[in-house]
Amino acid sequence: MEQEELVRYILESTESVFSTMLGLETTAGTPRTSQGAVAPSYGVAALVGLAGSWIGTGSVDCSAEMSCKIATAMLGTEYDTVTDDVLDAMGEVANMIIGNIKNSVEAVVGPMNLSIPTVIYGRNFTTRSQRQNQWTVVPFECQGDEFLIQVMLLPNSNAQSLMQCVRVGGEVEA
């Protein structure tokens, strides 16, 4: 998959979720790539795994303040500190953004599944994937604050052998 294509899916999905569910305007910054470790996070990181014909991870990263703005917009209740409601809202935002990216990607590369979101909240933590792979990072500005959408995707080397197992009349043939 071309980098430009993935960036386009990230832009479309993020703007759709923020405008439809949150009623918030976003301005996309300059997309970039990051090799290996994801940049240190500074508040809340909501991660979703992807698996299927391609595998990877997607995340929504932002400050604690931004996460409160997101939850406030989503739930119609004012949040000024990170609570379970805020973390749940972030998980669902990640689920929708990465889920819609997945829908676009799988139309091109084949079926994929989404994991349940994991949301991390704290200070001075770093997240990294097991492998040193290229991440696509798109920054967004929203209400004077920033958030990042980060996606790492690569072809699943096991997908080919899995595709060779065909279920015929209830029997599995390899």
Binding site: S16, V17, T20, M21, A71, M74, L75, G76, D84, D85, D88, A89, G91, E92, N95, M96, G99, N100, K102, N103, E106, A107, P111, L114, I116
Partner: protein, 123 residues
């Protein structure tokens, strides 16, 4: 007659949003119940009758399509409309839900209008 609704989603945020949207519709609401997954939904339904179920697909323990399959096989709930509300957008998933008997399929992110229109088409 008041409509009792069961909302099934592992996200508390989505359950809150859907509760809010239901209050904005023209439907006269009775009880609005919640469940975090398909298994919890079936447990809730053992002691509560509802007239509408709104369900996510991707959930732990029992997903929305498995829940739908159970409901359609149960004489007591076979005729209760089940609307799927999900991020899953593949044609295959939509067809699977329709084949299993879903009354509707709404993709996230959704607007309040989409939910209202779907309920108006059912009731």
């Amino acid at each position: 007659m008041a409509l009792d609704v069961l909302i099934v989603d592992d996200s508390a945020a989505i359950r809150k949003i859907l509760q809010r949207v239901l209050l904005q519709t023209d439907v006269t609401l009775g009880k609005v119940l919640e469940a975090g997954d398909g298994l919890e939904a079936l447990e809730t339904l053992k002691s509560n009758k509802v007239g509408l179920i709104l369900s996510d697909i991707n959930m732990p323990k029992m997903d929305g399509l498995q829940l739908l399959e159970h409901l359609k096989a149960d004489q007591e709930y076979r005729d209760v409309p089940v609307v799927m509300i999900t991020t899953e957008g593949s044609q295959a998933k939509v067809m699977e839900a329709v084949t299993l008997g879903a009354a509707g399929y709404i993709r996230k992110p959704f607007t309040a209008e989409q939910i209202k229109e779907k309920l108006a088409s059912i009731f």
